[in-house]
Subunit: 335 residues, 2 copies
DNA sequence: GCGCGCTACTAGCGCGCTCTAGTTCGAGTA
DNA sequence: TACTCGAACTAGAGCGCGCTAGTAGCGCGC
């Protein structure tokens, strides 16, 4: 920085002003400073900057490396953070790297706030985190913890999906749930409620799973095995999320089941895969961009106004009907 | 820190020593300092620490948010970096966020080295980056740039896959390529060479694509449309990577093509999806963990021994035969 | 002529830590 | 006793910035 200042014939302070895009520097000088900086290859040291101003203006994002919906969210987080003048640091949780560890890394890099994508940690941990810093949880509700919360109205989404299926004449509708995954409990509950509301409680069936392709494949195998054992296939499946739906589709189409003729499948998320399929996946759309924007805004607003109470944003999901759902088979199922 | 020092009755320097776990402090004092720090809730400020010691011991990783193989790599990078005492910062490139921007973010956070996963930038940019800092490119070869390079021997992988297919009796083998994607050029070349070697140059056909599901779906549609127009389907397809293979599978199985009876499909990467499928994807395995380890080691070793020349690691890929490849159809194809 | 306000710029302190070059002190040695 | 030596500890400079308080210069009105 001193080099730049000297070479441009100004003081260090002025270089600082130019780089912070602050008023107080002439247009000509500004350009000269930037040009010299570029020549030298100078770039402000964020550590020093951070130290000097006491704020890092950095948002930490914890995500699960393999979760495709998270990548959709991240895509939305970057631009919104940039718009508000914040930097973004990513930290992934993987098999060998717990969420706590990932968060710790973010904090030790002085992130001012932490955005947790579908966290799977104990509520106590999240609450403690919320006390220590500004935290936002996306997709997972944390009852009385001091964290902001962004999610979509799972109940509404599931209801739309179920109404759609019932309208198409389906009665044997199975739900593959997402276990302890974010939003899974709410979806499961909404599924049960919808079955009841439609007078189908006798048909209700939840196959335990989680939010992965693997889980969908397993469930598919289970259903196929049952079919071979004499129990008819359900006519429709509400999957825990899109990945699960994809797994299920792979499993059943491979076995000759035709979708949606023999079986309707509805996913959840509308992750970028869903619309790619030749006959797109019918799914409940969670607007990842909007969720990301809310998460960032919540974090930033709590940061700027420290005493503010944590808030909750509930976004309306929307059923997107594509090619994997259709009317119930006319004759008896392919039992 | 000053508070801790005062309350523990020692100097700030001593506190520093204790927190760096350095020799030069008595056992008793050490414990006292730690206890006091815990009471006060003191944790060292990594920004200041970083500034003061001039080294961040942080590795930056640039990746493409949607690329599943990258997530496999990241999973391997974390533990290796931790083992060597380095921190990891992630920065994703997305639609609205160029690779240059992602790298810029890493550098301004004082990453000492940058690991680029399948970078798509101009060689000139990469070379410049390599001059400025320690850089490692994974999957993409950058001819005479000052960067380390980790990749798998694409040629060998493709050759194994092709030999496998030819052995199964295939002759009409189509390659959906990966465009400018990492490794794509090498794979394309190796495909052509293999066709030639087996005396099938007349049958060689490359369908332009890229490393996404979308691309596989498009290629699938194209092939199906051609079939409907009278041109027989190929009997086997070598996809540019697993995602592409998955897209292709979705497209063709949906249209009633049975894999591998009517069509054999071979992927590339062995990303975590491949083994999940009910009848797993036959693919060329790139050992993501091993690649990640090499990348981290290259970066760290160049960091510790600054004058060291960039190196290249070529890992042997391995064909993994699963369920999507089989003998060529007995009768005439399903034309 | 003076004060005024404005823009363009600068001096220099301090952020919280690390690190070098010390000082102190008690035990060991001749 | 007089010394050496190492372990335990400290003083204080400096890392690269941001920021506050200030100065210089200039056009303005009266």
């Amino acid at each position: 920085m001193a080099d730049v200042a000297e070479k441009a014939g100004v003081s260090r302070a002025l270089v600082s002003i130019v780089f912070r895009n602050q008023a107080g520097a002439g247009q000509e000088t500004r350009e000269r400073v930037l040009r010299v900086a570029d020549e030298i290859g100078y770039r402000p040291d964020s550590a020093a900057r951070l130290l000097a101003r006491g704020r890092s203006r950095t948002l930490g994002v914890m995500f699960t490396v393999q979760q495709t919906f998270h990548t959709d969210l991240i895509t939305g987080i970057y631009p919104e953070a940039e718009r508000l003048g914040y930097d973004v640091l990513l930290s992934g949780a993987t098999h060998g790297r717990s969420e706590a560890k990932a968060v710790e890394a973010l904090l030790s890099h002085r992130c001012e706030a932490v955005i947790l994508l579908g966290p799977d940690s104990e509520p106590a941990f999240l609450d403690e985190l919320g006390q220590r810093t500004v935290a936002v949880s996306v997709s997972r509700r944390v009852p009385r913890a001091r964290v902001d919360f962004v999610h979509s109205a799972e109940g509404k989404g599931v209801r739309q999906a179920m109404d759609h299926l019932v309208e198409l004449g389906h009665r044997r509708i199975v739900h593959i749930d997402g276990g302890r995954g974010p939003g899974a409990a709410e979806r499961r509950r909404a599924y049960r409620a919808a079955m009841r509301r439609h007078g189908l409680q006798a048909e209700a069936r939840v196959i335990p799973g989680h939010h992965t392709e693997e889980s969908g494949i397993e469930a598919g195998r289970l259903l196929l095995a049952e079919r071979d054992g004499g129990r008819p296939l359900p006519t429709a499946v509400l999957a825990g999320n899109d990945r699960c739906a994809m797994g299920l589709l792979m499993a059943v189409t491979r076995a000759g089941v035709e979708v949606p003729r023999d079986l309707s499948v509805v996913g959840y998320d509308d992750s970028h895969l869903s619309h790619l399929m030749p006959v797109g996946l019918t799914t409940v759309r969670q607007d990842a961009l909007l969720m990301a924007e809310h998460a960032v805004r919540f974090a930033v607003e709590r940061l700027e106004e420290r005493e503010r109470e944590p808030r909750e944003a509930v976004l309306d999901p929307k059923l997107v009907v594509r090619g994997t759902s259709g009317p119930v088979p006319a004759g008896p199922g392919p039992a």
